[in-house]
Symmetry: C2
Subunit: 419 residues, 2 copies
């Protein structure tokens, strides 16, 4: 380092030092305020959503004929989005695009639209998840707050990241994973820390608010963790490569079906109707409701006893068909189910404990599909505790690597190439 450069560095640094603690305190107060506000709204919305979802799932389980209304539900959703949804139908991608480039506005109606139509999807037995809904509600609240307080473009991005974190953290009851997810999901391979405090506040407050509304989350346990040894590490690497490739199958199949449906049926109402009919036929064809809705009972079984080795594939097909046909809902819970059942199926051939591999699969397939390895690792810690932490990290790194640049979010930027 030359002397001139060093001098300049010192000057800049001494000037910045004088004021930095005031600036930091200001930023701290500002983001505790904004983050809490978003957390309050997103956490409340998540509580409402989870309650509605539980009701819808109960109805679907109790009155199995509701499935017959799936095509109509889809047509209704498509009609509403087309005529009144503005650009809401872009979903999570709209929010990610606004964080990266920021030329469009996120309409407030996105929140009620996605909430209502996700509940419809589940009520009528479509196969979908929750995170998309929670993230879109969080994003739409964040945009509203940004408009009310007239924040600048930079703060708007941070607010939107808060919205993602808050939605994710509150809907899954994993505030730390939510924090990092909001920061990591924007671009593959790079994380910038400006959003660290904002996302953390939004996610923690969101989760506390959801809990305060009386919501309980389903718990899973990893069970006994094998001692670290070369064979076990190799087996986990092998399993994680499969988890990563499976995440590609899910992402690409969903994207491909979306394109195919749109080409075949340019009218979204007809598209969703036909997609619904196909799902109804498929559900009656296989004769089980295991793959409808969130598939939480299937996931719970995958943690205690062997499930069908093709379960992961059927869940992939059901969810891709549901989302491909334009139904609303998230991808993350289906990804949990795909990973959990795949891990369950691999446990036998790899001679590893079933619960252990189901846990790794749950986290790793999700990781491959979202390209958020640290968030997924932290999710694993929050769900299963820390005793399997090295394996969790390993599974996330390998799945992240082998999912290449595919993923469920087409508007995710490639910040740094993986290869």
């Amino acid at each position: 380092m030359s002397i001139g450069r060093e001098k300049v560095r010192r000057l800049v640094s001494s000037y910045a030092q004088k004021w930095i603690h005031l600036a930091l305190l200001g930023a701290f107060i500002k983001w505790v305020f904004y983050g809490s506000l978003i957390g309050l709204l997103a956490g409340t919305a998540s509580a409402l959503f989870l309650t509605a979802l539980e009701w819808a799932t109960q109805q679907q389980t109790q009155y199995s004929w509701l499935l017959l209304f799936l095509p109509l539900g889809g047509a209704l959703t498509g009609f509403c989005y087309q005529n009144y949804g503005k650009n809401s139908s872009k979903g999570n991608n709209l929010i990610l695009e606004q964080i990266s480039e920021g030329q469009e506005s996120i309409p407030f109606r996105m929140a009620p639209f996605v909430l209502f139509s996700t509940v419809l999807t589940h009520l009528f037995g479509g196969s979908a998840g929750r995170e998309g809904t929670a993230v879109q509600m969080g994003g739409s609240f964040a945009e509203l707050i940004g408009k009310i307080f007239r924040v600048d473009a930079f703060d708007r991005k941070l607010l939107l990241m808060c919205g993602i974190s808050s939605g994710f953290g509150s809907v899954f009851g994993t505030p730390l994973a939510g924090t990092i997810f909001g920061m990591e999901v924007v671009a593959i391979g790079v994380v910038e820390y400006q959003a660290l405090l904002p996302c953390f506040v939004a996610s923690v407050v969101g989760n506390l608010v959801t809990l305060a509304w009386g919501i309980h989350h389903v718990h899973y346990a990893m069970g006994p963790v094998p001692a670290i040894s070369a064979p076990v590490l190799l087996e986990v690497v092998l399993a994680s490569i499969i988890f990563g490739l499976t995440s590609i199958l899910f992402s690409e199949l969903t994207h491909w079906l979306k394109k195919l449906y749109t080409t075949l049926f340019p009218n979204v109402v007809i598209k969703s109707f036909v997609g619904g009919v196909l799902l109804v036929l498929l559900t009656y064809g296989i004769g089980t409701r295991d793959y409808s809705g969130l598939s939480i009972p299937l996931l719970q079984r995958a943690f205690v006893e062997p499930v069908a080795p093709w379960a992961f594939f059927l869940k992939t097909v059901f969810t891709s068909l549901t989302l491909g046909a334009g139904y609303q809902g998230g991808e993350v819970t289906p990804l949990f189910v795909i990973g959990g059942t795949l891990g369950n199926a691999l446990a036998g051939p790899l001679h590893l404990p079933l619960t252990f591999l189901a846990s790794l699969g749950l986290v790793a397939v999700f990781c491959g599909a979202t390209n958020t390895p640290i968030a997924c690792f932290v999710l694993g810690i929050e769900m299963f505790g820390s005793q399997g932490s090295v394996y969790l990290f390993l599974a996330c790194v390998i799945s992240y690597l082998f999912s290449a640049h595919t993923g469920i979010y087409q508007s995710q930027r490639i910040g740094i190439s993986k290869s």
Copy 2:
């Protein structure tokens, strides 16, 4: 997104997609190889270092007159570095600079030099740590491997990050914190994931190798964790601001003393000798060896019973004086002790459990001084388990924020400003 741009994006992506799995597999095999090699060397070096350190600490405890030789030990170290050390005396900063700019070479002799002189520091009762030594050994091995295999400039950076991760992970027995530390420490506020797999392999292998050599690490427990509530969160925020400001005190005092010593005594041999005399007088003056060496017994006490409220300050002064006078050794274990004792002292006034706040302090002061919040959070998880994870994260975020752009590594780049 305009159509032209979208088209280009798709073309690039379809081309890249074809080959990416081959490229990923190639990168995977390459970095498992390089990472394991560095882990093997750095893990073995850490085992040797920790064994030597234990011996030195035992000698110092048994023969307290060894303290009288501290000035001579310092003079010897200074003499060796000046005449035979090349640029080794730049320490951790040399490695960080090579990762960021890369114009100098890291001499292999850095490893034996720092190992030998750190053991001397501890044998004669100086106050210092371990991470600097482990990181420098790891970095010097990484450079050697880079030279042998004639890697390009980009891979050399990744190798050096592996060296940091491997040294850190193996010397503290925290492979995941080591992984992230190597990625996070290079620049404040930005993490890039190219090094994720390389650092992970190097750190995990390094830790396994150190354990295989029969090394045991001291364990600490967080004890009962208070339920999350607004008052507790506020108290933890307050404590964490104090942790962050204390990290500034440590970093700035050490830098200032380094400058002052160098101005007063341009001859490094005299500098270290005089610094040693001062330390001897100070040690006899306060009449305890609590602040000499690693101060592990003091840290262990801080986890079970109240310690003197000024302990954190004395440890700060002792370590700053030791490192400021040019003695070798790391900063991290002293930072653990400073944080642990400060947390211990704050527990009373803040009405929080002593062990709980000592744990948070240990992690948070370290976090403020190194600007590596995720690594510190993960370190906390690896040391204390996951039950206090939200508090750990909170403490890391706040301390990171309030330490501003200060830190113990002067060559750490500011990637993204905190304010």
